[in-house]
């Protein structure tokens, strides 16, 4: 068993999930079975293999606009625009932005007190 009850509780906390006792025991079983399965990745030697987080990591100059000659965020200059208000489209009016909120006043989302955890 790789994952313990304690791990499940810790990860649920990180993920902002509560989970019932039944859900926790189911999760313990499922996570262990899935992790056992994914362990087959360790059969592969990847010590000299670069990670691929995005398709553009390998094919960036092939249409995605990445400039491989540049460093850092400059590589992605194509995706930037002028930093102006309402750059690509108008900001949503408050009433539209708040329309789906479970609780709001005219200008703000309302939530329970943030002081107590």
């Amino acid at each position: 068993m790789k994952v313990t009850d304690k791990d499940v509780a810790y990860v649920a906390d990180l993920a902002n999930l509560e989970l019932t006792p039944e859900e926790r025991s189911g999760m313990l079983r499922d996570l262990n079975s899935i992790l056992e399965y994914v362990d087959r990745l360790n059969e592969l030697d990847t010590s000299n293999v670069p990670p691929m987080a995005q398709v553009s990591d390998r094919y960036g100059s092939n249409g995605y606009g990445v400039d491989e000659a540049k460093q850092g965020s400059e590589r992605f200059a194509y995706a930037s625009r002028e930093d102006v208000v309402d750059g690509l489209r108008k900001s949503l009016p408050h009433d539209e932005a708040l329309a789906n909120a479970p609780d709001a006043d005219e200008d703000f989302f309302r939530v329970p007190k943030v002081i107590e955890r």
Partner: protein, 481 residues
């Protein structure tokens, strides 16, 4: 004229020539939905007001003799993971039960700008996580070909609606096979374009480096028409590619990008024909390969040696990205909020507990674990490295061939409940589809026969980055032959 069995071109022409109206087409589809969808469950929400307004606009154009746009009057359905302004968008989740987005998904907006009439929103696995549509928080979708069986997933509603003539075409999304596998199970065409070919703006994110929008259709030509409509750079999605959009429809017969079918080299990888592949599926796919040979294609053995590592790689990367993407459902801005909570942190946890179903929680947990301190290198980083190896396999193969053909899924549609208690068995339904998502290459599934029980079988054709033209051409030639 049967208004429910038209292709895009036939529907548009009929409206243009005033042999029918966009309104009549929409109404015929709503009538069909009324009659059939009670037992299938493809639609979650109907957008009648919006549909009839658009139909009226198209009918006025036709009456004035103006040329209709390419999808003028064509009734379409949209998977419920794509935002539609003012029309409820649930992603198949209780957490978005009452969510009406304030903006439109780019792909939907482009469909409507091209004249399409959006009938409604289609059922799917919750947040597109699933391979059978049984993870919808609302109801499972049933396969129109056999109601005891699943339609596949996660775009099960999108595939079932096309198969049951409840839309001419639909949009789905594919993160690990979610367009192609249901297309295969329901006997329709499903196209996943290259990563970045179609903007993801307004698509409710599951795994951002793997999510693709694409069409499910009755014919290959319709898939080409829809792709031509929705493809192309969108400033609202930084990962959408700035690559010119070819005329995919013209390309079906007259190649500008790539070769004519008779000159194509088609790869067959033994790794896609191994253990777990159903015999009837194998026979149908082998017969399809023979047919391609008959069309003049040269069949070339290729090797994709890392294929057995695709599912574990996929489930680590997809869940890691999902765990981050789904953090936004906190009960503050638009998602379900639990009642009677005292503190903010209790509100987050209880709202998410109530809003998410079992599979979504499982994936959030796995993804959070894979990203957590001490495990990041062993799981997430390791998976990203294997993703490179899987992608290199394709690079190598595509040096020798123009396309690769495989079965879309190892089996035909399975029964409801058959795999729902075994997450791993369910994940393996995507074994032939996930690798293309990881590599970012395009793939299409087209019908290639039936089992003895009359269940559809799908042939998958994979292509090079941005070479949808070649796989569409090959699929079209197969379909027409």
């Amino acid at each position: 004229m049967n208004l429910n069995s038209l292709t895009i071109a036939a529907a548009r022409t009929a409206v243009q020539e005033q042999k029918t109206t966009a309104l009549a087409l929409a109404e015929a589809h709503y009538a069909r939905i009324q009659k059939e969808d009670g037992q299938i469950g493809a639609y979650l929400t109907l957008s009648k007001e919006r549909a009839l307004e658009q139909a009226d606009k198209i009918d006025r154009m036709a009456a004035e003799g103006k040329p209709l746009p390419p999808l003028g009057g064509v009734p379409v359905g949209i998977k419920d993971v794509m935002s539609t302004r003012g029309v409820r968008t649930t992603a198949g989740s209780k957490s978005l039960e009452n969510y009406a987005p304030p903006y439109d998904c780019t792909a939907v907006a482009r469909m409507e700008a091209a004249g399409a009439v959006v009938l409604g929103k289609l059922n799917c696995d919750e947040f597109a996580m699933g391979s059978s549509n049984e993870n919808s928080a609302y109801r499972p979708v049933r396969n129109p070909r056999d109601l005891s069986r699943v339609p596949g997933g996660s775009s099960g509603g999108s595939a079932a609606a096309v198969a049951a003539d409840m839309a001419v075409v639909t949009l789905g999304s594919d993160t690990g096979g979610s367009i192609r596998q249901p297309a295969s199970f329901c006997g329709v065409v499903g196209l996943m374009p290259t990563y970045g070919r179609v903007s993801r703006y307004g698509l409710i994110a599951f795994a951002s480096s793997l999510d693709h929008i694409g069409p499910l259709t009755k014919t290959v030509k319709d898939a080409a028409i829809v792709l031509r409509t929705i493809a192309g750079r969108d400033p609202m999605d930084a990962t959408s590619a700035d690559v010119p959009v070819p005329d995919y429809v013209a390309e079906l017969e007259k190649p500008v990008h790539g070769k004519p079918v008779r000159e194509m080299k088609v790869g067959v990888a033994k790794e896609y024909f191994g253990e777990g592949l159903d015999d009837e599926v194998r026979q149908s796919v082998e017969a399809a390969i023979d047919k391609l040979k008959g069309l003049g294609c040269e069949i070339v053995p290729v090797s994709l040696p890392h294929t057995p590592y695709a599912i574990p790689t996929y489930y680590l990367i997809a869940t890691a990205e999902a765990s981050a993407n789904l953090a936004r459902y906190d009960g503050v801005r638009y998602s379900r909020r639990a009642h009677r909570v005292k503190t903010l942190s209790e509100m987050y946890r209880r709202s998410r507990d109530e809003g998410f179903g079992a599979e979504v929680k499982r994936r959030i947990m796995l993804g959070t674990y894979a990203l957590s301190a001490g495990y990041y290198d062993a799981y997430y980083l390791k998976a990203q490295k294997v993703r490179t190896l899987l992608t290199r396999d394709f690079d190598e193969a595509f040096r020798k061939v123009d396309a690769i053909v495989t079965p879309t899924s190892p089996t035909a549609a399975f029964r409801l409940g058959e795999k729902s208690n075994d997450p791993l068995a369910m994940y393996l339904a995507d074994i032939y589809t996930v690798t293309a998502d990881l590599a970012g290459i395009p793939g299409i599934s087209i019908p290639c026969g039936e089992t003895k029980e009359k269940l559809p079988i799908g042939l998958q054709i994979l292509g090079k980055h941005f070479d949808e033209s070649s796989i569409l051409r090959l699929a079209y030639a197969y379909e027409q032959a």
